[in-house]
């Protein structure tokens, strides 16, 4: 009984098959519809037909839950009686939750700056080296690891055993070799939050490096040569030429990182489960809504998170549009 019995799993494949067939049928039906129905303006009609399933699914799967979450955030824990903005005032009054908001703020500031900064410096350092491809691959590798996987790996890196016992954590073993006393890295706020941030930076720096490195290579050689002729030093070259030329790419990296940091959940959950004052908004939202069964608090945190993400997305979309017009 210990192994998975393939025969037990067969019905699932059956369901998968039914799903695939349903998909084929729906698409086939739509194609048929567009093809056969004699149309008025065929382009628009066809677009409408093809958009319909997407719009429908978005409405059911995204719009409705979002509206309902906003609605629930004004109700009590059972979602039954109206409590006004009590859930929102709770968020800012409760010292624990204020700490959670503060942690998220630290994440949103530290993660983009550190990953973009390290990524940029790394990208410039490896630019046109012989081993550039290898160096890039190495720093990009952690991107392939899921957040939960990375969380588990780093939990081992930070693992603590009392002094005198065999250390199973890499970091503490190094500390011991250097003659230090083993530390409980994930225990003491606010440093534990920074040790968690290190993990996120470890994962995301590869992304920053690859994006920034690509745009450094896209800087026209004329500009670089012109600057050289003018006699810039390396420092001036970096600040006056490289950074302004790749500004759009830096913005993309910063925006992507900030959103990722705002929504962060998995790392905190696997590494500390929000204990020792390391919780962030998304983790607290889950705890409130699903473990403490307080829908009002959970919904209010979700809405607040959404409100925080919105301006960043708004800015990103506007920047993208502006760039498109430039071209």
């Amino acid at each position: 009984m210990d192994q998975i019995d393939i025969l037990d799993e067969l019905p699932k494949f059956g369901q998968l098959g039914i799903g695939v067939v349903a998909f084929v049928l729906v698409v086939g039906f739509l194609l048929f519809l567009v093809d056969r129905l004699p149309g008025f303006d065929k382009g628009r009609f066809a677009a409408a037909v093809f958009l319909f399933p997407t719009v429908l699914l978005l409405a059911v799967g995204l719009l409705f839950p979002a509206l309902r979450t906003v609605w629930l955030s004004f109700f009590d824990k059972d979602g039954e009686s109206f409590v006004g903005v009590a859930n929102y005032t709770w968020m800012f009054k409760d010292p624990d939750i204020r700490g959670v908001l503060g942690n998220t703020l630290i994440w949103v500031i530290a993660v983009p700056i550190l990953s973009a900064g390290i990524g940029l410096i790394y990208a410039i350092m490896i630019d046109r080296l012989k081993v550039e491809a290898l160096a890039k691959a190495l720093v990009f590798l952690p991107m392939g690891i899921s957040f939960v996987g990375a969380g588990i790996i780093w939990r081992f890196v930070y693992a603590y055993k009392p002094e005198g016992e065999d250390q199973i954590g890499l970091l503490n073993q190094i500390v011991v070799w250097l003659g230090g006393e083993p530390q409980q890295w994930l225990l003491n706020p606010p440093w534990n939050t920074f040790f968690l941030i290190v993990v996120m930076v470890w994962i995301q720096t590869g992304f920053a490096t690859v994006v920034l490195s690509a745009s450094i290579k896209a800087i026209p050689t004329e500009i670089v040569e012109a600057a050289r002729l003018d006699g810039v030093n390396a420092w001036q070259m970096f600040w006056r030429v490289t950074v302004p030329s790749i500004r759009p790419a830096i913005v993309v990296v910063l925006v992507t990182m900030s959103i990722a940091a705002l929504k962060l959940f998995d790392l905190v959950r696997t590494m500390t489960a929000g204990n020792f004052k390391t919780s962030v908004i998304a983790n607290e939202m889950y705890t409130q809504a699903f473990r403490l069964l307080d829908k009002g608090h959970g919904a209010a945190l979700a809405v607040f998170l959404f409100v925080l993400v919105t301006p960043i997305i708004f800015y990103q979309v506007r920047a993208m549009r502006a760039r498109r017009e430039e071209r």
Binding site: L10, F13, G14, R269, N275, F276
Partner: protein, 437 residues
């Protein structure tokens, strides 16, 4: 074009027919050789299905479903069992989504009470079975506002101290009968060269802190008594009542005593699963943890009074008074079809529990269950304690308190009390402040 179409058709046909054909040759059916006499009471319900949902997974789940086999064969009911480690969070989602299981096994009475409006009360027949098979206390834990909803499933005893009988024999230690003897023993172990006589660990993912809440509950029962304990759990006295502070300080005399446990804050990052294992290497002598800790010992460890590890009852000041802290899960139903009713009756009956105990480690408070069926001596000891009329049993308080306290603030503050050395009064006051008004 026509070629394309043909290929599409072929792919579509293959996609549908292959899984269907495979699923047709499903599992081999069950052999029919069970003795059906003990199951006659539950009636015949040919070709019916009952879904069951609980936290029990892996090996224990296999033992559970193996137990059901005869019942299924004799009654014709197929119990579709599903275990989920995230039960507490998922059950609400499933009930809200109109996808409630027929039978749900709640790990905490407090959580069960939250669903009382949606659960089906016990029938008269089930009530009579429960009255016959369980003590008044155990009936009460499944009762919400005078209505019986849940029947006790498994049970565990938390008031245990694990130790190494080998070490005790070698050094001539005796199992302590009072708190004073326990402290004397602790000092003796320390003097005999074990630097940390006690080992402890409260890390448990998002539930970090729960082993410390058990410590406090056990100590409230010993220093303040069961009556005060009941008032405290029901919030008739404030959470930070002076009696509770006394009990917490008593916990602190061990858990926050560097001479007994080593580095105190290390307890907060030591997982409860690994916490007791140093006993095997004589790196510590004592570890307070529930009967279910028996499952954590590595394979090959002999759990017995003359084996590698065993447990003794955590004594109080007065050897004559024996309060026991414990917990357990409760079987409830969201539907009341006849076959569901039959399964409920079966899950409260002696025939289920005796068969289940033979399949693997399982402890229950059901009076029909025979302790001699126990697979290990700690279970036998637990069941004897659960039946001991001179002992006073109390249910784990954090499981009965509202979730905001019992499965959040209480854990968190006890963790801070250990990890940050937070002041006892401030710790209890913070928990009191979180109690829902």
């Amino acid at each position: 074009m026509s070629n394309m179409r043909k290929r599409w058709l072929l792919a579509a046909v293959a996609a549908v027919s292959v899984p269907l054909a495979l699923s047709a040759c499903g599992k081999a059916d069950k052999g029919g050789s069970a003795d059906c006499a003990p199951y006659a009471d539950f009636g015949k319900h040919e070709d019916t299905q009952v879904t069951m949902y609980s936290t029990v997974r892996d090996a224990e789940a296999d033992q559970l479903t193996a137990t059901f086999k005869d019942f299924e064969e004799c009654t014709g009911i197929e119990i579709k069992y599903e275990g989920n480690g995230d039960f507490e969070a998922q059950i609400g989602i499933r009930v809200d989504g109109g996808n409630a299981p027929d039978i749900a096994v709640f790990p905490q009475p407090g959580l069960m009470a939250k669903f009382a409006g949606k659960l089906k009360p016990a029938s008269e027949k089930l009530k009579s079975i429960v009255t016959a098979n369980y003590s008044k206390d155990w009936q009460n834990y499944g009762t919400v506002n005078g209505t019986l909803y849940g029947t006790s499933f498994d049970a565990n005893v938390k008031s245990f101290v694990w130790y190494s009988p080998k070490l005790f024999k070698e050094k001539g230690y005796a199992v302590p009968k009072t708190w004073a003897e326990l402290i004397t023993l602790t000092d003796k172990i320390k003097a005999d060269g074990i630097a940390t006589p006690w080992c402890a660990g409260i890390e448990s993912g998002e539930a970090t802190g729960w082993p410390a809440t058990d410590w406090l509950e056990d100590m409230v029962l010993r220093t303040a008594g069961p009556e005060t304990y009941d008032k405290w759990v029901k919030h008739e006295i404030p959470f930070d009542d002076p009696a509770i502070a006394t009990a917490l300080d008593r916990v602190g005399s061990i858990l926050r005593n560097q001479d007994y446990v080593g580095k105190v804050s290390a307890i907060a990052t030591t997982s409860f699963q690994a916490a007791g294992l140093p006993i095997l290497e004589n790196k510590c002598g004592l570890h307070r943890q529930a009967s279910f800790y028996a499952a954590q010992w590595p394979q090959g460890t002999k759990v017995a009074e003359d084996g590698d590890v065993f447990a003794f009852y955590l004594p109080g000041d007065d050897a004559a008074k024996k309060p026991i802290l414990g917990a357990g899960q409760f079987v409830t139903a969201f539907t009341d079809r006849p076959e569901v009713e039959a399964v409920r009756q079966y899950l409260a009956s002696g025939v289920f529990f005796n068969e289940r105990m033979k399949k693997g480690p399982f402890t229950t408070a059901n009076k029909q269950a025979d302790p001699n069926n126990a697979t290990d001596p700690v279970i036998k000891l637990s069941m004897q304690l659960l039946r001991d009329d001179t002992a006073t049993f109390r249910f784990d308080g954090s499981d009965l308190m509202p979730a905001e306290v019992g499965s959040a603030k209480f854990w968190k503050e006890m963790t801070a009390w250990i990890a940050e050395g937070k002041d006892t009064k401030a710790t209890l006051a913070a928990i009191e402040a979180a109690w829902p008004k």
